[in-house]
């Protein structure tokens, strides 16, 4: 009887000690976002967003401006190593209004596994673009967002939808 008490106590200690967080791997094969971003992408849709109007709940929050000018002429090519590490990029604007101040340079991301910001660099100049949902990457779509700020407050933004060529 005395032993049962000790056995139960030992079982409790072992049970508690064995409780530890378990790391679960990704469901399905791990997605290499950087690898999937590599390639040539054509601009397929441009949406202008009035962030101030959105914040205040005003009507007229966004506008599809794709067909105002030849935005669909613009093509961007992201190059990288086979591991996925980004290297260079090229923007071929055609007759499209510019979406970046420079058309060639290097690109980097803030997080290799789950990037949210793509930084385009050319010498000392750089331009940050926010990466949208990865959901469309495998079906050949990805989204970039450019924000325009005044004293840290986002006033206007542009959402660019790209389609893989």
């Amino acid at each position: 009887m005395k032993n049962i008490k000790y056995i139960l106590l030992a079982l409790c200690i072992v049970s508690i000690w064995s409780c530890k967080p378990e790391e679960f791997g990704p469901i399905g094969p791990e997605q290499n976002i950087l690898k999937e971003l590599q390639g040539t992408w054509a601009l397929s849709k441009v949406t202008q967003i009035d962030q101030d109007a959105s914040t205040k709940g005003f009507p007229y929050k966004e506008l599809d401006i794709t067909n105002v000018y030849a935005y669909k002429d613009l093509v961007v090519a992201f190059q990288g190593e086979t591991s996925g590490t980004p290297t260079s990029f090229t923007i071929t604007p055609g007759n499209s209004p510019k979406i970046s101040d420079f058309n060639t340079g290097t690109w980097t991301v803030d997080n290799a596994k789950a990037p949210t910001v793509i930084t385009l660099k050319n010498g000392t100049a750089s331009s940050d673009l926010t990466l949208g949902s990865y959901a469309g990457l495998r079906s050949g779509k990805f989204y970039l967002k450019k924000v325009r700020k005044s004293n840290g407050k986002i006033i206007v933004s542009y959402q660019y939808e790209f389609t893989k060529k």
């Binding site: 205040k56 209004p97 004293n151």
Partner: protein, 258 residues
């Protein structure tokens, strides 16, 4: 000679920079419910060299429904709550929330102005006015711009909502066109384009989208500070003939993004 030219350029640049930034506001854009800090440099004004500067503030200059700030006190004896904080030689700051300061609702407040003065009112600066509040409530209007704040590199779309027009000619106007004029920082016309055919988006809405450098040639080094737009068109006279008609000229000042 070279030194003289450089000196003139330097003085002009300094004067221009001063004119651009005084008074300054933090944040740069604000609603009537935001806390705003005014920074005022009184150099070259009647208050230069003074240690104590009091604000005399007023709302809705030139648009009706204006009030003096509740903190003003009497002209000959300013209230201590209107006193600015000295942050350096000739430099002062003051923090306020407009709805509290004027005792008016956000819907009532359109703009404000102020001057700096001595407590007894014997010395003062010029009037600084009017400074617009960002609207908190959307008000439908016959003319509008999208987005509401933008700079010269942004896509701009000007709209004419004919169903909201109050003028009879504008209500009846057809063959709607747009005139655009762009200005530099010295307020000089850089370029204009007239009679651009507006897009009829619905039975009562006309619009035109553009990026300035696709409409006019902007010389290298020129910075656009604002543009004006005007909708024009035709109406029928008593004999059924087309008569040209024009709407008002609307001004859009570009926001400085940083």
């Amino acid at each position: 000679m070279k030194k003289l030219i450089l000196s003139i350029i330097f003085i002009l640049s300094a004067a221009f920079a001063f004119a651009q930034s005084n008074p300054s506001f933090s944040p740069a854009t604000f609603t009537a419910e935001d806390e705003v800090t005014i920074t005022l440099d009184v150099t070259g004004t009647g208050m230069a060299g003074q240690d104590d500067v009091y604000l005399w503030m007023f709302s809705n200059d030139g648009v009706g429904g204006g009030k003096d700030a509740l903190t003003n006190g009497q002209w000959g004896s300013s209230s201590e709550s209107a006193k600015m904080t000295k942050i350096g030689p000739n430099k002062f700051t003051y923090k306020f929330i407009a709805t509290t300061l004027f005792g008016q609702s956000p819907a009532e407040l359109i703009n404000f102005g102020f001057l700096g003065k001595s407590k007894d009112g014997t010395k003062q600066t010029i009037d600084y006015k009017p400074f617009k509040f960002d609207p908190l409530v959307f008000t439908a209007a016959q003319f509008r711009i999208f987005p509401s704040k933008l700079d010269a590199t942004d896509m701009s779309t000007v709209y004419f909502h004919q169903n909201l027009a109050t003028d009879q000619n504008l209500q009846r106007m057809f063959d709607v066109k747009v005139n655009l004029t762009f200005y530099n920082e010295a307020n000089a016309v850089v370029g204009s384009k007239t009679a651009i055919v507006a897009v009829k988006e619905s039975t009562s809405v006309y619009a035109y989208s553009f990026i300035p450098d696709r409409v006019i040639t902007v010389p290298a080094g020129t910075k656009l500070s604002k543009f004006t737009y005007q909708f024009t068109g035709s109406v029928k006279d008593a004999n059924g003939a087309n008569v040209p008609t024009t709407g008002p000229v609307n001004e859009v000042v570009y926001t400085v993004f940083n």
